[in-house]
Homo-oligomer: 342 residues x 4
């Protein structure tokens, strides 16, 4: 059986990545592509790398007849997403890639995103989309909220450690480096090639990045108490890839054992042998997350390093993994593409 | 039915690219991986991006029992390849990715490659591997010689034009720009990141690049007379991708019509609408070749621009396409992966 | 004696490059910096790399008292430049970096730039700023028009050859590759890092790039007859640097001799030994232009390759070189900075 | 008065950077360039970007007559450096850029560098070359040991804080990101463009990087007790630039005040306004170090970020700054070049 898929926001990078992945999916068919600002154009005009595919032209969202759609990916900007999803049919399965439905607490949402949520009902029912940890809820969900790409990376490194109680909860530092595609296809001076190439810098320093809201929500929930981490993102001169270097206090062996056990059966999360380190270039273009653990020379301290592709495992690949579950398909369908190196 | 595949020279970039592509191939199984200098290592140690695959460890070539192998890819250096292939069983189907069997004329080989060929029998039977133009011969060949990556790019732009007689044969210029992975994984000062990043330069200027031998052989054969082109390769600060800008004298409309007709039924070669230009970033990681045609402001001159990924359509993808034909499989099997952008 | 300098358009890349160069100039002092959109900001806020310099804050153009200014650099967008320069005091020496005053023929200007010129008087008196060829006129000029960066590169390769009559004037091809900073600091989707990194493509193919107007004007003037070249620019994934590969018909030896003689006494133009090729990374950040000549395997054809930094020798360095002449200073003052490599 | 300078190891990146800087130095003249492996070549053959300079050809070290040399820069590999320096005339002033003379304790040297030191006398007299903190000793030194580039970056961020007692000495984490030129011009697979471009990874994780020996030595000396930091270096896809993100426990205001006071009079170290962050692209090619301080959302924790160019302030620029002091010149001579951006 073929599932009919719609993608809203198909002219952005996560939209393009969804199309790329679904292109070789065995049981999905793209039935509608929407991008209000580029309605009327063909996919070849918006994304020439997808020109070999037979796909419908881009339309406005309200031109789509959702009655024939089985599942809809929303790759729209924050805030826009909630306004659109609120109006979609109740029967439609939805995977949202924006930040709009990630937070369970309406006040936290208002605090981090600066305003009242416009689709509180949807927010209430949404399931947090970190597949490996919400698999059962996702399988039966109508609306799944894709995680932040940085938030996913940090959580892969830390959730089992918090769950297993092997680290000090009051002294966790996530120093994260991310490629530029995470910022999307928006016209900002600081995203120009001439501004970014051959350099690196930190941003949102000191606890202001919105993905902290996800860390707070999830880590505190697991721990059963408030957990606040330090988190500093840096921008890399690379298009894809996140590497998060996480500093924890705890036994390095216990840390490695905890992570190894947690992900032993996972198809996409690989814990490297103790002392080896991942690289963003070894997961590029794939749905894999590589995690390495080393002990520091100072006893009782460990460094956990997680790497994934922000556009794949960090958003569109994760979204497809969740969609597979929601549609009763094999969770890995369409997602076993090997990374591209070099 | 599953075909058992061996890859010789699996520790280089074209070897890794073969593994990447075969990883999702429906009817191929990698039964042996050889790399003399890294024998004993696992693929994860040599190419961490392939660590999720269940693959045999690397061995020395002479450790392989070829009786169970259906087809063997040779991704070995020039000269090494002929010495190895000469000793392989006669019944084994072989796709060679080196330069050793590309030239039909033994004297031309000696002139361009500086020495006598060591496997003249094999050279005599080898079929030139530019799939779209040698499809029938490849289907029944035992030994197929993969083309040079630059040679492939130039030929996609020019073969139909020479065949159709729509351009001046005495005034053809190929100005080509290539990413660095075409030079392989060899330790040379001029391939260091610090030497290449953020710059560009020409090399092998004036008619010394060995891929000219392929241009000479093929273009002269098509034209039925000697054809000598000018060819200047340049090195780009990018890992993958070749873009060849070809200057010809002839009617731009006729040029576009000739190319459009030649590739109308081809699954991997796309001729863009007149006046549009390809980009290496829109074919990255895929087996597609995009071709654009524009007329110059000077009447009777056209510019043809062809782009492909040197590691995929330029070598390992082409090799797999040929292997599919040799094994009676669908020519596109395992090759419809969409390009990765951004 | 110290010359008081004003820079209009100081928030763009050529403006920043002027400040960088003047920072170590022995006899110039920056007295005013204007950037209408960023008036009120300090240079450290607009260009943090210049924060160590003691400089006036950015103001609006009409806030500058030009009576105390000896020379003004205009690094404004095309069209804006002519409107501003028209209103500047007649006594003020001006080096314009825009395209507004490069063309001598008002009809040619209208044809290439799509409209009537608004400062015809200024256009009439402006001197074309390719220093090595207009040195005397520049020395006594009030208004010098900086050349296009691509136009400069092509002219360094070709002017002596046309002057000396050593090449066929009807068959000249300039295949040019340029870094992205030539496009300025403007917010365009195709200048984003994620769009440009790790790829290459041609643009303005077939004779539509405006720098052709400069080639036409200058080459025809030298030849005493109409000369029309073919010119194809390509965008490189690099911030700085242009390499122009020029295909000509003529004796390679004569070509090399012509260029060597023409530039023998020039401080900034270096002709390499016959058969050597320049690289953009070897002139980065400097005012040097490197030129290489090779013969093709086809007799009577030569390849000339010129490389320079678009922001330095291609615009701001050239502008400073011209300003030095206009102010009676040593032409090389402030410009002998060595290239930055790696 | 002009000082005669010799550079040993002139064919590496730090050697080239020394030449670049000295090229515009008002009172230094390069009298000898040595590079044993490339003796007999001109500088233009080894570093084409320096071809405009009139310089002696490269020779073997033992061909240099040191009697006419005032100061010698040694840009040789570790271990080689001590063997060479041991044999140099006692009267010669020397700035060494290797790791050979950085450590005061011979046992620490043996532990980190795996063997006995071969020039213990020289080791005993060498002065640690972090200019801002050893200015007086450097002024009268015969032999100055340039610091590690990573070690310099971390020390600029931390020395004043340890000195002023404003941070917890037992909980310091330096997460550092460095460009690839720090690894030198050596032929290693992991330094190839195809291996590094568009990716990032940590290396020497857990306390194994040799620059830790410098941190230990210097921080413990300042504190008067043992101080051991955590230090994780990462490799960036960029040629130049280090950014160190340092996590400390202490009052952010006190941290900012301490750094601001320490560097208030320094010509090359700039402390940014509180809450602003440096970027490697804003110090590229210059001798400046930019430092930013932010407070974390968790009270009592601060993030200090320092950025410098590893080839300039991190090695060759630092070396020249020290040479200026040793020769009685203005400390900033030849070093006020503005950074190159973009």
């Amino acid at each position: 059986m073929t599932h009919k898929i719609a993608i809203l926001g198909a002219s952005g990078y996560t939209g393009a990545e969804l199309v790329r992945l679904i292109a070789t999916h065995p049981t999905m068919e793209i039935a509608a592509l929407a991008a209000n600002s580029k309605a009327g154009l063909s996919i070849a005009q918006v994304f020439p790398h997808l020109r070999h595919l037979s796909l419908p032209d881009l339309v406005k969202i309200d031109e789509i007849d959702f009655s024939g759609i089985d599942l809809c990916f929303c790759a729209l900007p924050h805030a826009t997403s909630q306004a659109v999803i609120r109006e979609l049919p109740n029967s439609l399965k939805i995977v949202d890639l924006s930040a709009d439905f990630r937070l369970r607490d309406t006040e936290e949402y208002a605090r981090w995103y600066g305003g009242q949520h416009d689709a509180l009902d949807c927010q209430a029912e949404a399931v947090y989309g970190l597949t490996e940890f919400y698999r059962d809820e996702i399988r039966s969900a109508r609306l799944v909220a894709g995680t932040g790409c940085n938030a996913a990376t940090g959580q892969y490194a830390l959730r089992p450690l918090i769950e297993d109680g092997v680290i000090d909860l009051d002294d966790i530092i996530i120093d994260l480096k991310t490629g530029v595609s995470g910022a999307g296809r928006s016209l900002k001076e600081n995203l120009l090639h001439a501004e970014l190439s051959e350099g690196a810098h930190a941003y949102a320093v000191g606890g202001t990045h919105r993905h902290l809201a996800e860390f707070d929500q999830e880590f505190s929930k697991i721990a059963g108490r408030e957990v606040k981490v330090q988190f500093t993102p840096h921008l890399l001169p690379a298009n894809r890839g996140i590497v998060a270097t996480v500093y924890v206090k705890g036994s390095p062996d216990a840390v490695h054992a905890s992570l190894s056990a947690a992900y032993a059966a996972e198809p996409f999360v690989e814990v490297l042998p103790f002392g080896e380190q991942p690289s963003t270039r070894h997961i590029r273009g794939s749905n894999f997350c590589h995690i390495g653990v080393s002990g520091d020379r100072i006893e009782g301290r460990a460094i956990v390093i997680a790497a994934l592709d922000n556009l794949t495992k960090g958003s569109s690949g994760q979204a497809l993994q969740n969609a597979n579950l929601m549609l009763g398909e094999d969770e890995t369908a369409g997602l076993m593409l090997a990374p591209i190196f070099p």
